[in-house]
């Protein structure tokens, strides 16, 4: 069953950027695309568990800051070595107050 957890406010994330979110021991990453859609993935690169929140967001791509592994954060798809294992994604919804919720579980 999905639990909706408030993660941040929309204003907390710049356009085409990422912020970290920690909940109950888990690390997540929340994204705001350049067309103001919100997405969420696991917070660590699947290659060597580097925090993605320090990485570069380009369009719908997140690039890991350690080895430049890339993922499509909207689908989690790994886009080439050294990222070869997909990222787990989570559903996101934004309520009327501008709070971004991530669906966990």
């Amino acid at each position: 069953m999905t639990t909706w957890v408030p993660a941040c406010q929309t204003d907390d994330i710049d356009s085409e950027d990422i912020v970290p979110f920690e909940h109950d021991g888990g690390q997540y990453a929340i994204y705001r695309s350049d067309d103001d859609e919100f997405f969420a993935t696991d917070g660590y690169c699947t290659h060597e568990r580097e925090r993605l929140c320090d990485g570069l967001v380009m369009g719908k791509t997140i690039e890991c800051p350690k080895h430049n592994g890339r993922f499509d954060y909207s689908t989690g798809q790994a886009q080439g070595a050294p990222a070869i294992e997909d990222l787990r994604t989570y559903p996101v919804r934004v309520d009327d107050s501008g709070t971004v919720h991530i669906g966990i579980g």
Partner: protein, 357 residues
Amino acid sequence: MGSERLARYDLTGPEGQKAVEEGLSGVSWFRSAIPRKRMKELMRRSDEHATKNTALWLGSMALSGAIGAFTWTNGMLWAAVPALAAYGVLYGSASDSRWHETGHGTFFATRWKNDVVYQIASFLQMRDPTIWRWGHTRHHTDTLIVGRDPEIVAMRPARLARIIANLVGLIDVPTALKDMVMRATGRLSAEEKTFVPESERTKVARTARIWLGIYGATAVACVATESVVPALLIGLPRAYGACMLYVYSLTQHAGLGENVLDHRLNTRTVHMNRLNRFLYCNMNYHVEHHMFPMIPSHRLAELHEEVKKDCAEPYPSLWAAYKEIIPAVLKQLTDQTHYVRRELPEGAAPYHEPVAV
């Protein structure tokens, strides 16, 4: 990746396992604190800069190669030698930094452009693009961690004869060709299997076969034309043009700390002139590059300004760097515990030292 290593540095040996057990592998390294807004500016990629740079590099190669081939064929050695010397450095040395930057995916903003130049540069360097991508990834994870890093050139003690011989590719080139033949049969070395995932290995055989085909065609062209010119243009420049590759790359880590977790202890930044920085793609800012590998090379000078408060003074020149490197490496021939440990400026974040596990 071809080079024989001293036993300690063998990636399948006990030192690598010891490094993992001691908490030296795959852990966090020191990074200077830079505001996220500034980092985003610095990380931004540019097709414009990379396109101009690549056009200049390949254009210079084409021109010097054409002049070299024409003058050699027409017996004008006085012109052929300098032309081919320039061609050789552009082919055999400058391709290393292009291999490096496009391998990181940071040279161009457009991914496929990085991939194309990466394949070209890998061919020129005789480095299998799959194996070396994964090997370089390991180098960034475990920089100069003994038994884990496949790219340690100056070991302790350094194999000086090999290093000197490789200034003209005398070891690297035959080894690369031997490895190419092995890989064309689908085999990887035991060391390579430690860092190349199984799912990635099928590409290696295909690449090796294509490359052997190109070198084979080059040899046939030499026979058909009764001239060494085809080989002077394809393959041999990796040997006769390799000197600057080693002159630059030895400044990166030689003589510095092993098994440390701070790039300020095992990496150098060296100021260089514009020509060297063009040939080397600004990789003279090597501390900066290791600290923040996602910053494209043309922004490294700016990054240097952001982190210099935490770093030892850069070396003012290649000459200054080698005045340190040569005595350090020579001392390591008899004292393998010796390394150069630099003083940090006042106010710098202290060195991040390994914690005994």
